[in-house]
Every structure is written in C-alpha cells, then in structure tokens.
Symmetry: C2
Subunit: 247 residues, 2 copies
C-alpha cells in the first residue's frame, strides 16, 4: 500500500515503440554489416547505450536470437554469430531454394508494374556502381532480392527472406574482401531479362548461379574476425520519452 518507489514514468504505450525501435536499430546494424561476427553484446552496456532497463534489452536480444540473427550462449552472453563454413553452405542453399520458389511463381504472375520496379532498381544499382559507392551497392544488392519476394505481396515469404538476408549479411562482412562488389549488377540484370521473357529454366539457372558465385567468393578468403567496439555503430533511437536517470 505504501509507495516505496519514486514515481515512475507513466504511459506504457510508448514502451512498445521503444522495444520496436531498439529491435530495428540492432537489426539494421547487423544487416548493414556494421557488427563484426563474434562481437559480444553485453546487456548492461546496451542498456546504458539506449538508456533503458536491462530487461528490455534482454527481451530484444532473445527475440533476435530466436530469429537466428544473434546467438545466445547460456550464462555467457549474446554474440553476433560467427558463421562456420557449414553455416555458409546452409544459408546460401536456403537462398537458392527459396528464390527458386519465388521465381517459379513470379514467372507465372508477374506484371508490368513489377517489371518497372525491377528496372528502376537496376538503374539505381548501376548508378551506385558507377559512383563507386560500395556501401550503397551492398545495400541495393540485398534489396534487389527483397524486391523480388516483396513483389509477391506475401508477408510470410518477405519475413523469411529478411531473416536469411540478415544472416548472409554477417557472412559477407566476415569473408568478403573489401574491394570486390557483392552482387554483380549484370547478373541481376540478366535475371530480370529472363523474368521478362518468362523463361523459367533460364531464370532458375541464373538465380542459382548468382548465389553460387557469391558463396564461392566468400569461401575464397577466410578472414579472421577481430574484436570490435560496438558502441559506435548504434544510432540513438527516436523515442518519445526516456527512462528516469535515478540511480
């Protein structure tokens, strides 16, 4: 009955957005390859960074772990997964199988509006490549495959595609040599051409070979992951309210 605690901040509604914002921020950092594989994400440090309680961070980290974006080792902590050679094989095979299914449907159901979006995206990719903007090229290269699946308008397929892309992004940042481009724009262009002609066999082959190329390149050099100061890669989350700083 007696109030022991100083008055807590009210309005529990903003908290949901807070969870989502932190989740999105960490996801973004992983997807953009800003978090090196093997990096530990200590709950206390993250709580301080985002200025929230540790339990809130815990919840987000465990959710990311359930989606295989992070790895929780009991009593040890949460880490950015350090993909093994076998992980690379599994993820890229999943990419190939998955995109094969997408292409099989796209070839049958595609319309002009989808093709227009793909063409526009190819133009953006070529532009980034011409400017030599590697970060943007990497981002657009992944976005190309998301564009394919999003064209189907199926939230389940889009969600799984994003999980896969999130995992392969870490692999790229680990293994990929810095100077090479991730996805050759030409290969994306050829795939779009095959789709336009509704050539299933050709489109399947191109997609398969495309992922083969990426996987092959990854396995060429085995970079050694270093330790990392992760604090610099996170951007402040936009929240309506902050946690009280009572200590």
């Amino acid at each position: 009955m007696t109030v022991k605690r100083p008055k807590p901040i009210r309005s529990g509604k903003g908290r949901v957005d807070l969870d989502a914002a932190i989740y999105a921020e960490i996801s973004r950092a992983i997807l953009h390859g800003q978090l090196q594989a093997g990096t530990k994400l200590p709950e206390h440090k993250l709580a301080e960074l985002f200025d929230v309680s540790r339990e809130r961070i815990r919840k987000v980290l465990h959710r990311l772990a359930a989606e295989r974006r992070l790895e929780v080792i009991p009593n040890r902590g949460t880490f950015v997964p350090r993909p093994s050679g076998d992980d690379v094989r599994v993820i890229y095979q999943a990419h190939r199988v998955f995109e094969a299914g997408i292409i099989e449907l796209l070839v049958r159901t595609m319309d002009d509006s989808i093709m227009a979006r793909l063409d526009a995206h190819l133009a953006a990719e070529r532009d980034a490549a011409r400017r030599g903007d590697r970060a943007e090229s990497v981002r657009l290269s992944g976005a190309f495959h998301l564009l394919l699946v999003d064209a189907l308008g199926n939230s389940e397929l889009s969600r799984f595609s994003r999980e896969l892309l999130s995992r392969s992004s870490v692999m790229v940042s680990v293994y990929e040599p810095a100077q090479s481009s991730v996805c050759a724009v030409d290969e994306h262009g050829a795939l779009v051409d095959a789709l336009r002609q509704r050539d299933l066999t050709q489109a399947l082959a191109l997609s398969r070979e495309h992922y083969d190329h990426i996987e092959q390149r990854l396995k060429l050099d085995q970079a050694v992951p270093r330790h990392q100061d992760f604090a610099a890669v996170f951007r402040p989350v936009a929240v309506t309210e902050r946690r009280s700083r009572s200590r």
Copy 2:
C-alpha cells in the same frame, strides 16, 4: 576454507531444458490442432499448470509469438491466432512457393535413400487411412511435407517449413470439416512418382494443385471458433526438478 555458498541446491542447467520442454509441449499442442483458434493462454494459469514461475511462461509465449505461432495482444494476453481468410491465402501461398523451391532442388539431387524414405512414409499414410485413424492421418500428412524438406538436410529450410506447418495446422483445425481427410494420400503418391521420374514440371504442378485443394477445402466452410478449456490438452513436461511449492 569456509563454505561461502550455503545452498548449491539447483543446477542452472535444468532450466534450459525446462524452457525447451514447455516450448515443445505448447508447440506440439498447436501442431496437433488441440488448441482451438482464439483460445486465450493466460500466463498465470499456464504457470500453475506447468508448475513454474510466470516469467518463464512469459518468455516461452513471447518466443512462440515471435515465430507467429501465437499472438500477443499488448495488455490483453496471448492467444492462439484466429486466422483470417487473408491469412489462409498468405500461408498456403507460402507453402506453395516454398515447396516449389524444394522440389526444384530435389528433382536434381534426389537419391535412392530419399526415395525409400518417401515410399515408406506413403505406406504408413495408406495404412493409417485404411485403419480410419484420422488423427494419425493428419499427423502423417503434415509429416510428409516435412520429410521432403528434411531430405535436403538444411536446418534453415526445415525450420521455416515447421513454422508454416504450425500455422496451417491451426487453420485446418478451425475450418476443416471433421470427416474429410486433410491430404489425399493419392496426391502425395503422385508427387513422389513425379519426383522419381525427375519430372520437374509435373512435380511442380502436382505440389501446387495439392496445396490448392487443401486451401480450397478450408474455405468451403467457415467454422465458428468456440471457447476452450485448454488445460486438458497439455501433457506434463518431463523435468528433473520441480519448483518449490512454498505458499
């Protein structure tokens, strides 16, 4: 040396298994269609049922929600999802797209050992159908599609396949009339035949039509979900230790 820790009573290792056991038990109940759509799963009741703390239940429920197996409505509770007609469309399209990709790879990489397992499974399905064991038929029918994806030996693909199956299981238990069989064994047999002959076009068509049939049948009758006493469907989880009953 003085004993600093007076009570090394419980090992922390059992807790992980406990989480997994509860997670598996709720997952099983959903997959087997024992939990009616719309059923609320109150944290306090579940905690009492499994004889664990409420926070432990919360963690499991939120994990299941992250996988879309359950639905958490903030400040309201956790529910077995009540799929809309649009959800049915999305899930079964995902099934079709996904299995198309699997088939495209299976046709190229399948070997005798895989075919033998598929044949054995078909025999089991026919046997269950002959015996009129509907529950077993439903279970085997779902297991058939898992067998296809598991044949690829890819954990990512298997995981996603199970998530999809979990969601469609709820839909079947909601919409499906009790007397009809879920998957015609004949359709599974025809698909296996096409795989054996490595006939990609035929296998793709059969798989697609198969899911079309299931989805079509679901939409025929719109059953009204009733409330349910969920306690009866859970089996006790096998744990090495129980929580103290101090009250």
